[in-house]
């Protein structure tokens, strides 16, 4: 493989991996903040226990998101320096604003929340968590605005001297319709990840407790029951919202990147009305669209693309010719294109990747919603399901929205190839800003170097995944109960949380020093 291919694999692996942590951080962050708010409002012990339990799951996961996020910021410069030069006037400022306006908020206030139990007033302490969660959401907005600018560049003109885009309207970049669609879709998809975790883990504990004959009146029972109910509602509602936002996004993409969408359907020739493909067979991997056949639902694609049952949807073959005519049939014979110089350009993204990832995203989303529905039904009116298929299926289905998130991003990023910055069709051809992925890679970096980092990062990431899964599983299985150990000296058992934590309500920072050294109590929650 040449540098370009290795660098693309590296970006793909590190980014998909990073995005396993991100939706859980965003989704669970919101839900933990809701739990903490409920505890502050109602003073019910189960809300406190839920905050602590899910808060720790959130934190174990959070740090891996931070650590792998560092790689994200640096790898644009490391392996993609020509991309960084080209988009510098727009892209870099969004990353810097993300750090300045979001990451500081997130990390500083999360530190305050973790170590602030009993040190700062109760409501201020709650506000620190909300500040951190808002930081995560703002950071998602900036990075998605940056990504959406690559999908649909707005607010720029081309500098004649350098050929690079120059920003002329920052607010157009921030209010890019592509960004608004992708942001809303991403946030609700993140909530699906959190909802599935609440459902799967909650049902597992409820079943275990019931089989062990544990009482249904103590706070721990309520912890799991409330978790399942909350998770179930969130799963179903968030799925409906992903459908709404996804539909809006798809209609936009039919205008902005028609090839991405027609590849997602393996729609070879323009059809009016166009059918929706349920299952494709034939040689999808050959990238020869005409060798693909599918089972279809008539009219549906026209509806999904344009909102009616008759409008034509352009096919891959026609679009390929259209793009070849507009942007060239071959790459320019220029050293900046590396091995690709002078080669023919395939404007059709890999059909097998776009087609199946699109279906995987939708399918896994549906699985998750169905499990959410099952959870609500099976726990109605105080019931506790013990059916192992239902409960263990729900545990397994925790993975479904992760897969849906990953495949959605793989679809949207692979679907814009061969461009890294996709030409905006709303702009006249001669004013369009676009950049091929083949031009983007760092010219001075060798294949050996990128292989080294790719293998190194993959191994480290793999090892970290093993440890993280082991820690999370162990922690989650243990649950919230205290039965397996006597409380350590200086630590109040959780049965009387008032002594331990809600005392924070009237503990001002000034009086913190008069308390017995309470850091270990705090740490026992934090870490």
């Amino acid at each position: 493989m040449d540098v370009l291919d290795i660098a693309r694999w590296q970006f793909g692996i590190t980014t998909v991996y990073h995005f396993l942590m991100v939706p859980l951080t965003i989704g669970l962050g919101i839900l933990v903040a809701v739990m903490h708010t409920m505890w502050v409002r109602t003073d019910k012990p189960e809300w406190l226990r839920m905050t602590r339990f899910w808060g720790r799951v959130y934190l174990i996961n959070f740090v891996l998101g931070v650590a792998t996020g560092l790689v994200q910021e640096f790898q644009f410069g490391l392996a993609w320096s020509e991309y960084s030069r080209f988009v510098g006037d727009v892209f870099g400022s969004l990353l810097a604003l993300e750090a300045l306006l979001a990451f500081f908020l997130e990390s500083t206030f999360l530190g305050l929340w973790i170590f602030g139990w009993g040190r700062i007033p109760k409501k201020v302490h709650l506000a620190t968590l909300w500040a951190a969660v808002i930081g995560s959401i703002v950071s998602a907005y900036f990075i998605i605005a940056a990504n959406s600018w690559m999908q649909h560049p707005v607010g720029v003109v081309t500098d004649d001297a350098t050929g690079r885009p120059v920003q002329v309207d920052f607010f157009a970049v921030l209010s890019n319709n592509t960004a608004l669609a992708a942001f809303s879709h991403t946030i609700v998809a993140a909530l699906m990840v959190a909802g599935a975790a609440l459902v799967g883990i909650g049902l597992w504990h409820l079943r275990k407790r019931k089989l062990a004959g544990a009482p249904t009146t103590d706070p721990d029972h309520h912890v799991w029951r409330r978790s399942v109910r909350l998770g179930g509602y969130v799963s179903v509602a968030a799925f409906l919202l992903t459908a709404v936002t996804g539909d809006y996004q798809a209609k936009l993409m039919y205008e902005q990147q028609p090839l991405k969408m027609s590849s997602a359907e393996a729609l070879c020739t323009t059809e009016a009305p166009a059918p929706f493909s349920i299952f494709a067979f034939g040689k999808l991997g050959s990238n020869e669209c005409d060798e693909v056949h599918s089972w279809t639902v008539p009219y549906l694609l026209s509806y999904l693309a344009h909102g009616d049952f008759s409008t034509a949807v352009p096919g891959v073959n026609e679009l390929q010719e259209e793009y070849s005519a507009a942007y060239g049939a071959t790459y320019p014979d220029d050293p900046s294109f590396g091995d690709k110089a002078g080669e023919p350009i395939d404007y059709t993204p890999l059909l097998a990747v776009t087609y199946w990832n699109f279906r995987l995203m939708i399918g896994m989303g549906m699985v998750s919603a169905a499990v959410g529905g099952y959870a609500l039904w099976s726990t109605r009116k105080g019931r506790v399901p013990t059916n192992p298929i239902g409960v263990y299926g729900s545990v397994l289905a925790i993975g479904a929205p992760f897969v849906a998130n990953a495949s959605g991003w793989i679809f949207t990023e692979m679907g814009r190839q061969p461009f890294v910055v996709y030409p905006n069709p709303d702009v006249p051809r001669e004013d369009q800003v676009y950049f091929f992925t083949a031009q983007a890679v760092s010219p001075g970096v060798t294949a050996t170097e990128v292989w080294t980092s790719l293998i190194g990062l993959t191994l480290v990431y793999g090892a970290l995944a093993v440890v993280e899964l082991w820690l999370l599983t162990r922690f989650v299985r243990r649950g919230v109960t205290t039965s397996d150990g006597a409380p350590t000296p200086g630590h109040t058992p959780e049965g009387s949380p008032d002594d331990d934590v809600s005392g924070g309500a009237d503990v001002t920072p000034g009086s913190a020093s008069t308390r017995r050294d309470s850091d270990d109590d705090v740490l026992s929650f934090a870490y």
């Binding site: 640096f74 410069g77 490391l78 810097a96 500083t108 530190g111």
Partner: protein, 339 residues
């Protein structure tokens, strides 16, 4: 002052902020094997930076982000030249970050000691690497007229990069010691103070050498004066720590970095990547910068955002200002999590 100069200054401030803040948590981690003899001491040392390291590290992310945002030509030259060294720094930062959080998620002596070693190793790698990267960009990297590296994968690791790496690590270690003397009590405080008294004059030498070199090459009267301030601050810090004035010693030791960084960035201006092949190949702010429009947007955002950030970070330090002491009972046994 034009916008490019303003942003050169802003980037310098962000890097300096990062060095001042993350410097002490690098230093505390580096000192764990040196003065953290007992488990309780090591635990205390880690607790002193526990709530702070993550917020400190965001300064790095913001500094690097600001380099990309204001000077993409700097970002896109600097990182590929030092490709593998930067990847190594990322490894250091990754393992360090997860070790901070995961150390407490399981409770055996073996587990604890493993992750403590990882924190130390990751911090050493990161401090050396970031110092080397800054040393390289201000003293000289082997780049040609297109900003592309001349030589193999490690051609960027020159004597100047090594000087930068050693300078940051040595300064950070003493910074960590003074921080521990200021923030803790008991045996750790005593050992940290002893370390700082013994090593602070020596530990400042590589940093002063780095700043002095940049000044000699392209400095002005002002950078010369700043260098003298840095040298003087070493003496002040040393005399203050000897008489147990830890707060003053900490401030003076921070001034050592502040004045050195000001010397380095002030003298190297307006160059952002110095070429060791030919000065004509060096990248300047004018070549590396984004448009004035984008710089204006960023100036507004930073003008509003940065004071707010400084405000709430200061508040965090205020909340956690209390001096820490080790628990009398050792080793530290934590109860199962939400127990």
């Amino acid at each position: 002052m034009d916008l490019q100069t303003l942003w050169f200054a802003a980037v310098a401030v962000l890097w300096t902020g990062f060095l001042l803040l993350e410097g002490f948590d690098f230093g505390v981690a580096a000192l764990i094997p040196v003065i953290g003899r007992k488990a309780a001491d090591r635990h205390l040392m880690l607790r002193s930076i526990g709530p702070l390291w993550d917020g400190n590290e965001v300064w790095l992310i913001t500094a690097a982000g600001a380099v990309f945002a204001a000077f993409p030509g700097w970002y896109a030259t600097w990182l590929p030249v030092l490709y593998l060294p930067f990847v190594l720094v990322l490894f250091g930062l990754i393992i360090r970050a997860v070790a901070f959080e995961w150390r407490h998620s399981h409770h055996t002596a073996q587990w604890d000691s493993t992750w403590t070693h990882v924190i130390t190793a990751g911090s050493l790698i990161a401090a050396l690497g970031v110092g080397a990267a800054l040393g390289g960009t201000t003293l000289g990297l082997p780049i040609d007229g297109d900003g592309i590296r001349v030589g193999g994968a490690f051609a960027g690791v020159t004597w100047s990069a090594l000087l930068g790496g050693v300078a940051l690590l040595a300064w950070s270690t003493v910074h960590g010691a003074v921080f521990l003397a200021l923030k803790t009590d008991g045996p750790v405080r005593v050992a940290a103070r002893r370390f700082a008294v013994r090593w602070s004059p020596v530990a400042a030498l590589p940093l002063l050498a780095w700043a002095g070199l940049v000044h000699l090459r392209s400095g002005t009267f002002v950078t010369g004066a700043l260098w003298l301030v840095a040298a003087l601050a070493v003496l002040v810090s040393w005399t203050r720590i000897r008489v147990d004035r830890e707060g003053q010693a900490f401030t003076a030791w921070a001034v050592v970095m502040l004045a050195s960084a000001a010397t380095i960035f002030g003298a190297v201006y307006p160059v952002v990547v110095v070429s060791s092949i030919d000065p004509a190949f060096s990248v300047t702010i004018a070549e590396a910068s984004v448009s004035d429009y984008t710089l204006t947007i960023m100036t507004w955002a930073a003008g509003v955002g940065l004071p707010v950030v400084l405000g709430y970070q200061t508040w965090t330090y205020w909340v956690f200002r209390k001096r820490l002491t080790a628990e009398p009972e050792t080793p530290h046994t934590e109860e199962p999590v939400n127990a």
